[in-house]
């Protein structure tokens, strides 16, 4: 009974996950299928001599640092506001959540028009406040913030929903007791809600961290053609290059499968380190129960 599921998981997840380690020691052309063993040459080039990869690592960190705290903070803020029986509560929650389940190609297309340097809605809004126009997607300084704004828009609703679930699971008595003792809302939040919510916060943090470290699709849509297709895209001055996107380009624009596998190994190790934290954490939590 488990064989259908196990066959698929072994062929399409477990074997590939192990295979990237072997592939990363090869020079492997994806088109011709020719390969030869080159030892650690891929890693030497990747870690020591590849300026684009170095840029990709930093820009990934930039993306993570810009996206994760913002969408988590905003998600928690909105969840706290929604955590009370009130009219239109479900409606507001649905509106905030909707971006998360919408197709990324269409929403990114609309955002690229909202980011239009001359007639975009975002620059029009800035204009209202007397701020200058920004060339969002074609300046090296602004393209990453633009992609971060898009990702925050896309992800906040997910965080809101998880935080709301976490909040509704908290025992109401403690907050009530603090209220009776005369604690203000701000104090109650930091002294009661925030510590009690920490398992949820930790879970959301790790999920967000993994999702942002492996980001590919928004980069591909916003910056895939920018900077010239032959150069592999990645935005002006490669300012939107990320590890995941570089892996995609090396594999499917340049067909360097071995080199892309080496990038996959690095990305995999990062993700494993993060999920390792998660597993350690959950075994502790299970223990407490």
């Amino acid at each position: 009974m488990i064989s259908p599921a196990m066959t698929l998981l072994i062929v399409f997840v477990i074997i590939p996950a192990l295979w990237i380690f072997w592939l990363s020691f090869q020079r492997w052309d994806l088109i011709s299928g020719t390969s030869d063993y080159i030892g650690t040459a891929n890693f030497e080039r990747l870690l020591l001599r590849d300026d684009v990869f170095r840029k990709a690592v930093w820009q990934t960190v930039y993306f993570v640092a810009g996206t994760v705290p913002t969408s988590m903070g905003l998600g928690l803020f909105l969840a706290v506001l929604l955590n009370k029986p009130m009219p239109f509560r479900n409606f507001l929650r649905t509106v905030i959540f909707t971006p998360y389940v919408m197709p990324i190609v269409s929403t990114a297309l609309i955002f690229s028009f909202i980011y239009h340097p001359d007639v975009g809605a975002l620059n029009a809004a800035l204009n209202v406040f007397g701020l200058p126009k920004v060339r969002w997607l074609d300046s090296p300084q602004a393209i990453m913030p633009a992609i971060i704004i898009y990702s925050v828009w896309q992800h906040t609703g997910y965080n809101t929903v998880i935080f709301l679930a976490g909040l509704s699971n908290l025992p109401p008595e403690l907050d009530e007791a603090a209220r009776v003792d005369g604690a203000r809302a701000w104090t109650r939040f930091w002294r009661v809600t925030w510590p009690l919510l920490s398992p949820t916060t930790y879970f959301v943090f790790l999920i967000n961290l993994v999702a942002s470290f492996k980001v590919v699709q928004p980069i591909l849509i916003f910056a895939g053609g920018v900077g010239g297709a032959t150069s592999g895209g990645g935005g002006p001055d490669k300012a939107a290059e990320t590890i995941g996107y570089y892996l995609y380009v090396q594999a499917f624009s340049f067909f360097h499968a071995g080199y892309a596998a080496a990038i996959s190994v690095v990305l995999f190790l990062i993700i494993l380190a993060i999920t390792g934290l998660q597993v350690g954490f959950f075994s502790r939590r299970v223990f407490y129960r």
């Binding site: 009974m1 488990i2 259908p4 599921a5 196990m6 698929l8 998981l9 399409f12 477990i14 074997i15 590939p16 990237i20 592939l23 994806l30 909105l78 506001l81 929604l82 507001l92 649905t94 509106v95 905030i96 909707t98 971006p99 389940v101 919408m102 197709p103 990324i104 190609v105 269409s106 929403t107 297309l109 609309i110 955002f111 028009f113 909202i114 001359d118 007639v119 975009g120 029009a124 204009n127 828009w153 609703g157 679930a165 699971n169 949820t200 492996k214 590919v216 591909l220 849509i221 892996l247 995609y248 594999a251 499917f252 499968a257 892309a260 996959s264 990305l267 993700i271 999920t275 939590r285």
Partner: protein, 288 residues
């Protein structure tokens, strides 16, 4: 309204004053999609932008290729019907396959004793740590070896087993009362018969959740189909939309119309099933 009602409104007012502008910000891109798709090539290049839709519904006919594009005089030739059909086939196929593997796997892990069960279930959970991005390259090579590049199989089979699905079904079957199975056994029924006639029909809630999640995910799939399809015969609508926006980069009105057509079916489905989808997401967060 009585005094208590008014007090309640006053108490909630600050929340609404913050929540409503945020909700408006989150909804704005969808509104903007509508505004642009109903504008003209002139109206959308005005600064500051016109904030309301101009009701040029014929843009949709143009995007569908039923009317000549007024700016070029040409008919667009985009096989939308084919793209949508491909997406529906892939999304239905993936969802069906995931349901079969999840129900069978989840039931076996919950109720059937077999050697190495704990170890194998641990392996399934470990799979959860492997993001699809990491396995793009070897999976492409495997599909090439199977001769599946540019096919439906390439978009369905690799996603046919879901750790989340197996886990959810296992949790449900673990919660079923043991005497159900014992009395079925007395009637001489085996595991398959019991699963098919009794356990699976009871498992409607998790089955619906798994089906919705997988349908939405495969409707929205972009990166993988972009890699493994190269003809219109198998391209899903997401890849078709992206190809359209690349090929004709000058006409945002038609892009917006295309985007809306691609978004609308999934938006409607989401709104109809939002309780189950949001509930499922929330539950996954609590259980971890």
């Amino acid at each position: 309204m009585n005094a208590r009602g008014w007090r309640r409104v006053l108490e909630l007012l600050p929340r609404y004053l913050v929540l409503i502008p945020f909700a408006a910000l989150f909804a704005f891109p969808f509104y903007w999609m509508v505004v642009i798709s109903l504008g003209t090539l002139q109206s959308v290049f005005v600064f500051p932008p016109i904030l309301y839709p101009l009701m040029h519904w014929e843009n949709y006919l143009t995007a569908l290729g039923l009317m000549a594009d007024p700016s070029t005089g040409d008919y667009l030739n985009i096989p939308w019907a084919r793209y949508f059909l491909n997406t529906v086939i892939v999304a239905t196929g993936t969802t069906g396959l995931v349901l079969i593997t999840s129900v069978l796997g989840g039931y076996a892990f919950a109720s059937v004793p077999f050697p190495g069960k704990t170890l194998i279930f641990g392996l399934v959970l470990a799979v959860y740590m492997v993001p699809t991005e990491v396995t793009l390259v070897p999976n492409f090579i495997i599909l090439a070896k199977l001769n599946w590049i540019d096919s439906y199989e390439a978009q369905i089979v690799p996603f046919g087993a879901s750790v989340f699905g197996i886990f959810l079904m296992r949790q449900f079957f673990l919660g079923l009362p043991k005497d159900l199975w014992e009395s079925a056994q007395l009637d001489g029924s085996g595991h398959f018969r019991f699963l098919w006639l009794i356990a699976a029909p009871l498992a409607r809630p998790p089955i619906v959740t798994i089906a919705l999640f997988n349908f939405v995910a495969s409707w929205n799939a972009f990166l993988w189909p972009l890699i493994v399809t190269n003809s219109d015969s198998y391209r899903p609508v997401q890849v078709g939309l992206q190809a359209f926006s690349y090929a004709d980069a000058t006409n945002p009105v038609l892009h917006a119309a295309g985007s809306l057509m691609v978004t609308l079916p999934i938006l409607i489905m989401f709104l109809l099933a939002q309780r189950q989808i949001i509930g499922g997401i929330a539950a996954s967060g609590i259980r971890g």
